[in-house]
């Protein structure tokens, strides 16, 4: 009850805006539905070659030699690249999508050097005048491999006798440091309170292990790039990515070039979800373009996307949760073992930081292990690392509620984090809205709707930090009073609409007169990539600041036209009003168009340009309710009702925000029920297409209902919180909890595929 009262006491400013919170038609919509939008694979340059990649068929193999002579002799082949063409890099750490990245690993992942470390690892690439010749040439490249023993799964990879991928990989975070290489890249711990004392004081303890499989982001658009090199050596790249500045920086590092010698133009992007926060084809295309002197286009097949680009980690998570008999949480412990893929850098530490963060937990500990194995290097995927940890914790909470005979929602309400709650990673929360999501769930008709036979209901919550970081924006006033808003972030989730809305709101002008644009790396100052749910928050803040600067300039220009001071000018509803009263002088308001038209006479073009390093990203919380129906004869599970509730701070364009919640929920449902990588005994991926790698489609699911809770973030002019990450965190446990209630068995291993569930049901029957 105390927590509910605290929630009611939170101030939820209800400010009315003209554009913020409205649902205008998306600016990119018409081009996308009519096929006019230009994606990476649509770029076409005169004389362009086609590049294809030769990939390892082995999970783990030493590359003895690569003979390209026959391919090079084939008419129409104009360029070949192998690992020998890229510089050897030292270990150098930089900010990545989900965690710091090592450029040496990025380079070796883009094209193998001494060893191929997974099925699909690039070992060479060829550019030719046609796709047929390119494939013929690829078949002529002879790679001599020494096949080595491989290891796929995380627990196997941690075993003492596991085949070791990197003979120089010494586990970080252990003291004393090991003297022998292993597949364990690192260990990180987070702790608060006294965990032993906490468990000793607990009346009830739930302890289980949970597993999840590696899953792919499943973006519809495969990776695609066009690279061209000018006569002066200047490199131009057009590609689908989550950050043109990231592509520029990574290519410069990998190729030993100056950043200023590379210009990257972002194409439209057909989905990323974190998977396009690194480079794969881009450096290879540049080298092929340099060698051939012709533009080169490279487009992955779906099979290449699945075999060679980053999924998120498969995991083994052990959770121990202790509570008092009244449901008060006392202690929690997690041991997280995450697959990194072939190179270090799993999001295990983010699982450790997020798993318990929805709750007041005085004693907590998380031990996080980062483990390499013969799989493609993992990449970021919405709220990297959090869904797997949350699956364990939220399942344990559900089981605790069953054990205590409590309503699982009331148990969460009793222990919910709020302003001032300490996190396992250190800081205390500022203003957050987790309680509000639980109260909205409690009030939602879904929570109290009756269930039928073989049906079950699950609830789960999730947390993500959200981030800010460097962003730039330019707001240009055109001669006719229309406005261009230029930013440096590819639009993945509707950011153009949000940027236009915020600019129109600050300028007080008609939204239809605001055109949002995405600049290439030569047109706008640096912005960190589109990820971490940061763009509407951080880049949006830059847009607001740039628009405010434009308003300041407009007041100054109006003052000049009226021969008064800027302090005598007020800006409202898109026009300047003179507040100075002088007898005999009538000063009618000046519209933005009128000031823009006369700009040449009052000082020249009007433009606001802002670069910021945004802090103040408000954390996000969500709570999901899921109903399922299980067919006990087949083990098939059908989601029959789903409600996603989230504190979104302030929804700039609610339709896009609802779409983020729906998309995250659907991806999480796929993770929970169907998706997994299937390897054969030789470590070769068997399900490389969407027929075999089963993601949910519209006909599989009910309409995902959404509830936008708005607890404004005080760190943003309009109260924005990032929204894209949180909605994939709760579904894994929400679905698993629902299935567990439907069948009366606790399901701890994802995906809960029909064969696995049927085996569990039959096993329980056999056990009596």
């Amino acid at each position: 009850m105390g927590n509910e009262q605290d929630a009611l006491n939170l101030v939820n400013e209800q400010v009315e805006y003209k554009w913020v919170g409205t649902r205008p038609i998306r600016p990119d919509g018409a081009d996308k539905v009519t096929g006019r939008a230009t994606f990476g694979a649509d770029i076409d340059l005169p004389g362009m070659l086609t590049g294809v990649v030769i990939r390892s068929p082995h999970a783990h193999a030493r590359i003895i030699s690569i003979d390209t002579s026959a391919a090079a002799a084939l008419p129409g082949v104009l360029g070949i690249v192998t690992g020998a063409d890229l510089p050897e890099l030292p270990n150098e750490i930089a900010a990545g999508g989900e965690a710091p990245i090592n450029f040496r690993s990025v380079s070796e992942n883009a094209i193998a050097r001494r060893k191929a470390l997974y099925d699909g690892h690039a070992v060479a690439a060829v550019a030719a005048t046609s796709v047929e010749i390119a494939h013929e040439a690829a078949a002529l490249i002879k790679v001599n491999y020494e096949v080595l023993p491989h290891v796929i799964n995380v627990l196997d990879a941690m075993a003492e006798d596991a085949p070791v991928l990197h003979d120089d990989l010494i586990t970080k975070g252990l003291e004393p440091a090991p003297t022998k290489a292993s597949n364990i890249a690192g260990k990180v711990e987070f702790a608060m309170g006294d965990i032993e004392k906490g468990f000793a004081e607990s009346d009830v303890i739930i302890e289980r292990s949970y597993t999840t499989e590696a899953v792919h982001q499943g973006y519809i658009e495969p990776h695609a790039v066009v690279a061209s090199v000018a006569a002066d050596g200047m490199v131009n790249i057009w590609c689908s990515s989550q950050g043109q500045f990231m592509v520029r920086e990574f290519c410069a590092k990998l190729l030993g070039m100056d950043i200023g010698r590379i210009r990257v133009t972002p194409a439209e992007i057909g989905g990323g979800f974190g998977g396009k926060t690194t480079v794969y084809l881009e450096p290879l295309a540049v080298v092929l373009a340099q060698k051939s002197g012709r533009p080169v286009r490279m487009v992955m097949t779906r099979g290449e996307v699945m075999r060679a680009t980053g999924p998120t980690s498969g995991t083994h998570v052990h959770v121990k949760l202790g509570a008092k008999r009244d449901g008060t949480f006392v202690a929690g412990e997690m041991v997280l073992k995450y697959q990194a893929g072939a190179y270090p850098g799993s999001p295990a530490f983010l699982g450790g930081m997020t798993g318990f963060s929805c709750y007041e937990l005085p004693n907590a500990k998380a031990v996080c292990w980062d483990v390499v194995s013969n799989r493609p290097k993992c990449a970021a995927y919405r709220a990297p690392g959090a869904p797997m940890a949350s699956f364990g914790v939220e399942s344990a909470i559900d089981e605790l509620a069953q054990t205590l005979g409590m309503d699982p929602l009331e148990l969460r309400l009793k222990n919910a984090a709020k302003e001032g709650t300490a996190t396992i990673y250190g800081p205390k929360f500022l203003k957050i809205g987790y309680l509000e999501t639980l109260l909205a769930a409690k009030a939602h008709p879904h929570w109290s709707a009756p269930l039928g036979p073989n049906q079950g209901r699950g609830i789960a919550s999730g947390f993500w930090f959200n981030v800010g970081g460097p962003s730039s924006a330019s707001v240009h006033v055109n001669e006719d009073g229309s406005v261009s808003v230029v930013t440096g972030n590819p639009d993945i989730g509707g950011s153009r609409a949000s940027m236009a809305i915020m600019a129109a709101e600050v300028l007080g002008m008609d939204l239809s007169k605001v055109k949002p644009l995405i600049g290439d790396t030569g047109q706008i100052a640096y912005s960190f990539l589109t990820g971490g749910s940061r763009v509407t928050f951080a880049t949006g803040m830059a847009v607001c600041d740039a628009a405010k600067d434009v308003v300041r300039q407009l007041r100054t220009r109006a003052a000049k036209m009226w021969k008064v001071t800027p302090e005598d000018v007020e800006w409202r509803d898109g026009s300047a009003f003179c507040t100075k009263v002088e007898e005999g002088k009538e000063r009618a308001p000046l519209t933005l168009a009128a000031i823009a038209h006369g700009a040449a006479r009052t000082g020249g073009p009007i433009s606001g340009n802002v670069s910021i390093n945004a802090a103040g990203a408000g954390p996000g919380f969500g709570t999901h309710i899921c109903d399922v129906e299980v067919d006990p004869e087949t083990g098939a599970t059908r989601v029959i009702r789903y409600t996603a509730i989230q504190d979104v701070g302030r929804a700039i364009h609610p339709s896009y925000v609802e779409g983020q919640l729906q998309g995250g929920a659907v991806q999480g449902i796929g993770w929970a029920l169907n998706e997994e990588y299937v390897y054969d005994a030789n470590g070769r991926l068997q399900n490389t297409g969407f027929l075999d790698y089963r993601m949910p489609v519209a006909s599989d699911l009910p309409m995902i209902d959404t509830v936008l809770v708005e607890v404004p973030n005080p760190g943003h002019p309009y109260g924005v919180r990032g929204v894209g990450e949180v909605p994939i965190v709760p579904p894994l446990a929400a679905v698993a909890n629902a299935v567990s209630h439907a069948v009366g068995l606790r399901l701890t291993s994802l995906p809960i595929s029909p064969p696995k569930l049927l085996a569990a049901i039959d096993g329980a029957k056999a056990a009596g």
């Binding site: 750490i93 930089a94 900010a95 990545g96 999508g97 989900e98 965690a99 710091p100 975070g173 003291e175 990180v188 711990e189 987070f190 702790a191 982001q217 979800f273 974190g274 998977g275 926060t277 530490f349 983010l350 930081m353 970021a380 995927y381 919405r382 709220a383 990297p384 990673y425 250190g426 800081p427 205390k428 929360f429 500022l430 993500w464 930090f465 959200n466 981030v467 800010g468 970081g469 460097p470 990820g531 971490g532 749910s533 940061r534 390093n613 802090a615 103040g616 990203a617 760190g715 990032g722 894209g724 990450e725």
Partner: protein, 82 residues
């Protein structure tokens, strides 16, 4: 005096196990200078890209951030996203 709170593992390696430190500093830069003087090697330990939380607000590049007399400072791994 601001309070710096470190994770146990980090403290074991860099501050002789001290998890709670008090530091007189008005900005992040001065705070790090003071900690480096007290625990040589501390600054280098942050080179991997540690983020910092000052009074609950997380900063990825905190060089110029102000530190209050009652501030609470935590170091944590840098956070990205998908």
């Amino acid at each position: 005096m601001a309070t710096v709170i470190l994770q146990t593992e980090f403290a074991r390696r860099y501050t002789g196990g001290q998890t709670r430190l008090t530091v007189a500093a008005t900005d992040y830069s001065a705070l790090i200078e003071t900690l480096e003087a007290r625990f040589p090697g501390f600054e280098e330990s942050l080179q991997g890209g540690m983020a910092v939380a000052i009074d609950g607000e997380i900063y990825q590049s905190p060089l110029l951030e102000k530190i209050g007399a009652e501030s609470e400072v935590h170091f944590l791994p840098p956070i990205g996203g998908g």
